[in-house]
């Protein structure tokens, strides 16, 4: 078989091999059953004791969300000041400067929100202290926040009638101590042994064969890159992210990193089934998400392997596919595979430049982020999918002649209202953000910002539109990858994407937790023959149709003006 193809098949096989038992383990662990990681208990108890947390205290959904928002706000505020004054703080061997207020605003939001949009470059924009104790810390906690909120939803949907969605602090701490930390240690070791730096030493120097002196940035990168993938964060230690030879040295690390970013999202979907004791439902959701993934991945692979028709016209052979912006050690198929996964699961790390991919690849990448629920980010993927389920349950409930119900609870006006608002939020943030950027670009090209709007776009025309659309889509999806080619470190992009990230992160978490909390308070209705089962293939298809139609209808015109126009113009 084709080596490149076997490479990605093996990657996916390894992913499933680990994710399936991990899903079972997560369900048992969060349900408080006996698991082998119980030896972490003393450490957890110490954390609870130091923080004054009573781990057995039940929380209703409002208390749960209050705890979640409080701690995240705290991180946001102190992180902001740390970033601005990083130059005055220790662990800055390369003498990097402090961040401007707007960049600090954007960067801290972006890390609290599991996005890692990174309008700075790791080498020159952040000190070791910030990278390690702010950014890496947040990479753990932001992933754990998403997971904790998803577990609250699991519990609310499992229990027949309850006010108690579980204790936020317990879920948060356990996500770190019993999932993210152990896995990160393993992955960091793999990376370190393959050549990723892991020390606090400053820049290294070597003299190239041409005789130039080259400064090579280093630092404690291996541990950072481990959680960057496991927590679907995506923020690179270096500016070039996993395309950088020290961040992703070889094909082995490439497989390790791509497997790592899919583990928790897939495991959480299966954990949903195991936790709620509806195993079949977990697998149906897994099936829908996998089919969605393949529908984005297969055309991506074909469009990348096919090469660029404009280059073909010049008579240049492209036997290896479109190689612009790709790493030779990785190759086009593994880059295409990675680009699909990193956009559907909201990691947003890259091992090649998305800006250089074919126009239609850009379309699939953006669609993956617009949908944002084919596995999706740590915990939040399941939450996003829940919103689609609520809409699907409502419409299909009507279609079978019964007041819609989900897992034994009636779905009524209040839940529909929340789901509708959250559905509305994504097109609003993405389209309004892009419209604002287009408007500024068209009408205020000369504004005196760090980067003039007229100089924002490396490629004007349709591709330039895609660059702006991608940036907003990535922000809303808390993905954090960039199409790049966009001059984004200026007040406009820092502030606008900062706001989009913040809203696009927390409202879609609050909504599903509130829906689940409200549903759990209602009377439990046992299933009867007239109940529409939500763990069937039919309902899976229904949800899939809802996802496709909602997103197609929201984004079709914008996508036509970006990648689709670019594609057909290129073919002309």
């Amino acid at each position: 078989m084709n080596t490149e193809l076997s490479g990605i098949l093996i990657s996916f096989a390894i992913t499933l091999l680990i994710a399936i038992p991990l899903g079972k383990y997560l369900a048992r662990m969060f349900a408080g059953e006996k698991v082998w990681t119980d030896f972490m208990k003393p450490i957890e108890n110490l954390i609870y004791k130091l923080s004054g947390i009573s781990p057995s205290q039940p929380m209703n959904w409002k208390q749960f969300l209050k705890a979640m928002i409080t701690i995240n706000s705290l991180w946001l505020v102190y992180g902001f000041f740390m970033l601005m004054f990083q130059d005055k703080l220790p662990l800055n061997p390369d003498g990097n400067p402090g961040m401007t207020a707007d960049l600090a605003f954007n960067s801290i939001i972006s890390f609290v929100a599991n996005t890692n949009l990174q309008h700075y470059s790791g080498e020159s924009g952040a000190t070791y202290l910030i990278q390690h104790f702010i950014f890496m810390f947040l990479q753990f906690t932001s992933a754990a926040t998403g997971i904790a909120c998803a577990v609250a939803v699991f519990k609310a949907l499992r229990d027949k009638t309850t006010n108690d969605v579980g204790n936020f602090w317990v879920y948060l701490v356990r996500s770190v101590t019993r999932l993210l930390l152990p896995l990160s240690i393993v992955l960091a070791l793999i990376l370190a042994f393959n050549g990723t730096p892991a020390s606090y030493a400053g820049k290294d120097q070597f003299i190239s064969m041409q005789g130039d002196t080259v400064n090579v940035s280093r630092g404690p990168a291996a541990q950072f890159i481990a959680i960057k993938h496991l927590g679907t964060n995506g923020g690179g230690w270096f500016g070039a992210n996993s395309a950088h030879p020290l961040e992703n040295p070889n094909y082995t690390t490439n497989i390790a990193e791509i497997v790592a970013q899919m583990l928790v999202p897939i495991a959480m979907v299966l954990a949903f089934g195991y936790f709620t004791r509806r195993k079949k439902m977990g697998w149906v959701i897994f099936g829908v998400m996998t089919i969605g993934m393949l529908m984005l991945m297969i055309p991506t692979i074909f469009s990348e392997l096919g090469g660029n028709p404009a280059i073909a016209k010049m008579g240049v052979s492209q036997s290896t596919g479109a190689m612009e912006g790709k790493e030779v050690r990785v190759g086009p198929m593994a880059t295409a595979y990675w680009s699909t996964l990193t956009t559907i699961v909201s990691t947003g790390s890259v091992n090649g430049m998305h800006d250089s991919t074919m126009p239609l690849t850009g379309l699939w990448q953006m669609l993956g982020m617009m949908i944002n629920a084919f596995f999706g980010g740590c915990g939040v993927g399941v939450l996003n999918y829940l919103i689609y389920i609520i809409i699907a349950v409502f419409i299909s409930g009507l279609m079978v002649g019964r007041t819609p119900e989900f897992l034994g609870h009636k779905v009524e006006a209040r839940e529909v209202k929340i789901a509708a608002l959250i559905t509305l939020l994504s097109p609003f943030l993405i389209l309004a953000g892009t419209a604002l950027a287009s408007y500024v670009f068209t009408n205020y090209g000369a504004a005196n910002w760090a980067v003039k709007p007229s100089a924002w776009l490396n490629n004007p025309s349709y591709h330039g539109f895609s660059e702006m659309l991608y940036e907003n889509t990535s922000s809303n999806a808390n993905n954090g990858s960039g199409f790049e080619g966009l001059g984004d470190n200026n007040i406009f992009w820092n502030v606008s994407t900062g706001i989009i990230i913040l809203l696009g992160r927390f409202l879609p978490i609050i909504g599903p937790v509130a829906i689940a909390g409200l549903l759990a308070q209602k009377k439990y209705i046992p299933e009867s023959a007239g109940t529409l089962r939500t763990d069937t293939v039919t309902f899976g298809i229904m949800t899939f149709a809802v996802i496709l139609v909602l997103n197609a209808l929201s984004y079709f015109p914008a996508l036509v003006l970006g990648p689709i126009a670019e594609h057909f113009t290129m073919l002309k």
């Binding site: 809409i391 409502f394 419409i395 299909s396 009507l398 279609m399 079978v400 002649g401 019964r402 007041t403 034994g408 009524e412 006006a413 529909v416 209202k417 509708a420 608002l421 559905t423 509305l424 097109p427 609003f428 389209l431 309004a432 892009t434 419209a435 604002l436 287009s438 408007y439 068209t442 349709y462 539109f465 009377k523 209705i525 046992p526 009867s528 023959a529 007239g530 109940t531 529409l532 089962r533 069937t536 039919t538 309902f539 298809i541 229904m542 149709a545 139609v549 197609a552 209808l553 079709f556 015109p557 914008a558 036509v560 003006l561 689709i564 126009a565 057909f568 113009t569 073919l571 002309k572």
Partner: protein
């Protein structure tokens, strides 16, 4: 009532609905429906643009703008017409009921005992009137004195007269029905204009029509879809500016109107009204739209055995003489004891005897004394002049009779009694001179098609519960034979109540039917309580529906009407949203093809020109509304094939169909338009 037309578009109704469609354009009325209100706003803007384009260039030709404006106006009118025709039909139905009771003279009894004749619409609650044979009852009321046979065919269509009398569970009379014999004194129970029928008419007319919770939830969802499309259309303007394309206002508004769910938005209230109207056509008066919807969710159905599961009364099916008694002698004794028995059971004994024994006297000897059935003795019979005493009655009362007289009670008889009971029959033991001579077997006749109906209900996921006064053994047999899931034997009203509460505590929705005052608490407790029109006022007040036909099987129909209502909403929503795919493929290329010629590639329908593409899409969007009015009014058929199968089916028809149909429709319209535009 039954004579009312079932045609969907009665010319007279269409005429009034057409007029209403224009009146409903009033923005205040339109605000109730956010989706259609945004269309109205778009229409007003288009009117302005049309005038503007008459004198200015840049927004397309005057004719084009005018066409768009007219089509949008038609879209609004079509949606209003859908609501208006549904209202008109409901009103016509209710009016035909109301007509029966207009201007009837009422003989009002004054305090001093004299009688004054007044018009029926001047009757107040608490007034007492009298009716004699031949009178039409002026208004709804309750008999306080007397008994009468009444012809209720005016409301039920049933020609057989019924008996109504004071004091029992059959004390209600309805305005418009006719007294055939005897006379009665009736107290008026409702204020003028507040009868159930008046309430129902108000509900249909929209004055007091409130949106049901489900309708509210759907409206929220549709409003949010509308908001998404507002965002899509508003942001398209700066996008287009970036791409150096100008989009005309007509094109933008057309895109918007096509995308928002106007199909379901326009038909939503019509569907709700039509649901109540269908209930009314089934001769059921609902007190709220919510009750109809709830009916579709029912999990448990409490049904009375008599009249629902079995045909009216029991019939004698077998004579079992005691050992040593000749068959003929026994049958003669039975006949003799039943000659004066006017009950259907008594009559059926004689019928059966006529088939089994060739000759016997059909008249009792002169001077015989008939013993009536009483609750204490639980036996009836005859004493003939020659001193023979024949009694027939319940097993234990006849046994006591025999044992008290010093006679033994044969074991074989006791066995027979048990066998009959376990087979669902009722044993009547017959004694001659206090000596047991045999047993008559009475059997319930289960309605021939009832088992299938229960099977249908089971497939809907509804549990059926039979309520009967029979003993548990008999009840069990009939329950099994008819295929009900559970039964309450020897039921007292409190038992029903207890059962309902237990089911509700488990999260189930319960429906029941009742008529007596002692049913009232249970009717009120049930999620759907259907009172029979013949029932007491208390029962009718307690329930949330009244069945004019007094037909216990009506509950099954009501459940289907409720389900149909939800299904129609769901399928048309799906259809409406699915339509958008084709509309996008028509309009989006049309918007940008001038500045981005490569986008011709997504004009997959090969529409003639940008203008014709946009016109075709809005025309399709408009005419789909009237085309679907019949479906909205009749409702999408409910098929009890299981929820998942039903979802698959409706998803195929209305989801996939909703994607494909507009591609064909828009293309056809475009072909026609192309003939007119060069």
């Amino acid at each position: 009532m039954k004579t009312s037309s079932n045609k969907l578009f009665e010319p007279a109704l269409v005429q009034s609905a057409l007029k209403e469609s224009f009146i409903k354009l009033n923005p205040k009325t339109m605000m109730r429906n956010p989706v259609m209100f945004t269309v109205e706003v778009g229409t007003v803007i288009m009117l302005y643009v049309t005038f503007y384009s008459f004198t200015h260039a840049g927004q397309g030709s005057f004719a084009y703008n005018l066409s768009i404006f007219i089509i949008l106006l038609l879209t609004l009118l079509f949606a209003n017409f859908a609501e208006a025709i549904a209202e008109a039909r409901g009103k016509a139905q209710a009016d035909s009921l109301r007509k029966t009771r207009e201007d009837t003279p009422a003989k009002v009894l004054q305090d001093d005992g004299s009688i004054v004749t007044r018009s029926s619409n001047q009757l107040l609650k608490g007034d007492v009137f009298v009716c004699e044979a031949g009178d039409t009852i002026p208004t709804d009321g309750e008999i306080i004195e007397g008994l009468a046979t009444i012809d209720e065919s005016a409301i039920t269509g049933e020609s057989a007269p019924v008996i109504r009398e004071a004091g029992g569970d059959k004390s209600s009379v309805t305005g418009g029905t006719k007294v055939l014999s005897d006379n009665i004194k009736v107290v008026v129970t409702t204020q003028p204009g507040e009868s159930f029928l008046d309430k129902m008419i108000a509900l249909v007319e929209g004055a007091s029509r409130q949106k049901t919770p489900n309708e509210i939830a759907l409206t929220i969802l549709l409003a949010s879809f509308t908001l998404v499309f507002i965002i899509v259309c508003v942001t398209l303007q700066p996008f287009a500016a970036y791409a150096n394309t100008t989009i005309t206002i007509a094109a933008l508004i057309s895109l918007f109107v096509c995308l928002i769910p106007t199909t379901i938005g326009g038909l939503l209230s019509a569907i709700g009204i039509a649901g109540m109207d269908r209930a009314l056509r089934a001769n059921v008066i609902t007190k709220s739209g919510k009750a109809v919807e709830t009916a579709g969710d029912i999990d448990v159905l409490l049904l009375d055995k008599t009249g629902t599961i079995t045909i009216g009364n029991r019939k004698a099916t077998h004579f079992w003489p005691a050992p040593g008694v000749a068959q003929d002698d026994f049958v003669r004794a039975c006949v003799l004891s039943s000659l004066a028995d006017e009950t259907p059971e008594g009559k059926s004994i004689i019928e059966l005897a006529q088939q089994s024994v060739s000759q016997f006297a059909l008249t009792a000897p002169k001077d015989s004394e008939f013993i009536k059935f009483t609750a204490e003795t639980r036996a009836s019979g005859i004493n003939t002049p020659d001193g023979t005493r024949i009694r027939k009655g319940a097993f234990d009362s006849i046994r006591n009779l025999a044992i008290n007289a010093g006679n033994k009670f044969d074991n074989e008889i006791e066995e027979r009694v048990k066998t009959i009971s376990s087979k669902g029959g009722t044993p009547l033991v017959v004694a001659k001179n206090e000596e047991v001579v045999g047993v008559i077997e009475l059997q319930d006749i289960i309605k021939p098609d009832i088992a299938e109906r229960f099977e249908r209900l089971r497939k809907m996921g509804i549990k059926t519960v039979m309520v009967t006064g029979d003993n548990p053994l008999t009840a069990k047999f009939i329950a099994e034979k008819a295929g009900v899931d559970d039964f309450i034997a020897e039921a007292k009203p409190e038992d029903k109540m207890r059962y309902i509460k237990a089911e509700q505590a488990a999260g189930k929705l319960v429906a029941m039917m009742g008529d007596g005052t002692n049913d009232a608490p249970a009717l009120a407790q049930a999620d759907v309580g259907v009172a029979m029109n013949s029932g007491t006022q208390a029962a009718k007040e307690a329930g949330n529906m009244v069945d004019l036909d007094n037909d216990p099987t009506k509950l099954i129909e009501i459940v289907e009407i409720g389900k149909q209502l939800l299904i129609t909403r769901g399928t048309l929503t799906t259809f409406s949203i699915a339509n958008d795919v084709a509309k996008y493929f028509a309009i989006v290329p049309a918007l940008f093809i001038a500045s981005i010629p490569a986008l011709q590639a997504i004009n997959i329908m090969h529409l003639h020109s940008p203008e014709s593409a946009i016109l075709s899409a809005v025309i399709f969007n408009a005419i789909i509304i009237p085309l679907l009015i019949p479906l909205a009014l009749k409702g999408v058929a409910y098929k009890p094939i299981g929820a998942s199968a039903l979802l698959r089916r409706n998803l195929m028809i209305y989801g996939l169909g909703g994607v494909i149909v507009p591609f064909i429709g828009i293309k056809l319209i475009d072909l026609v338009i192309a003939l007119f535009i060069k």
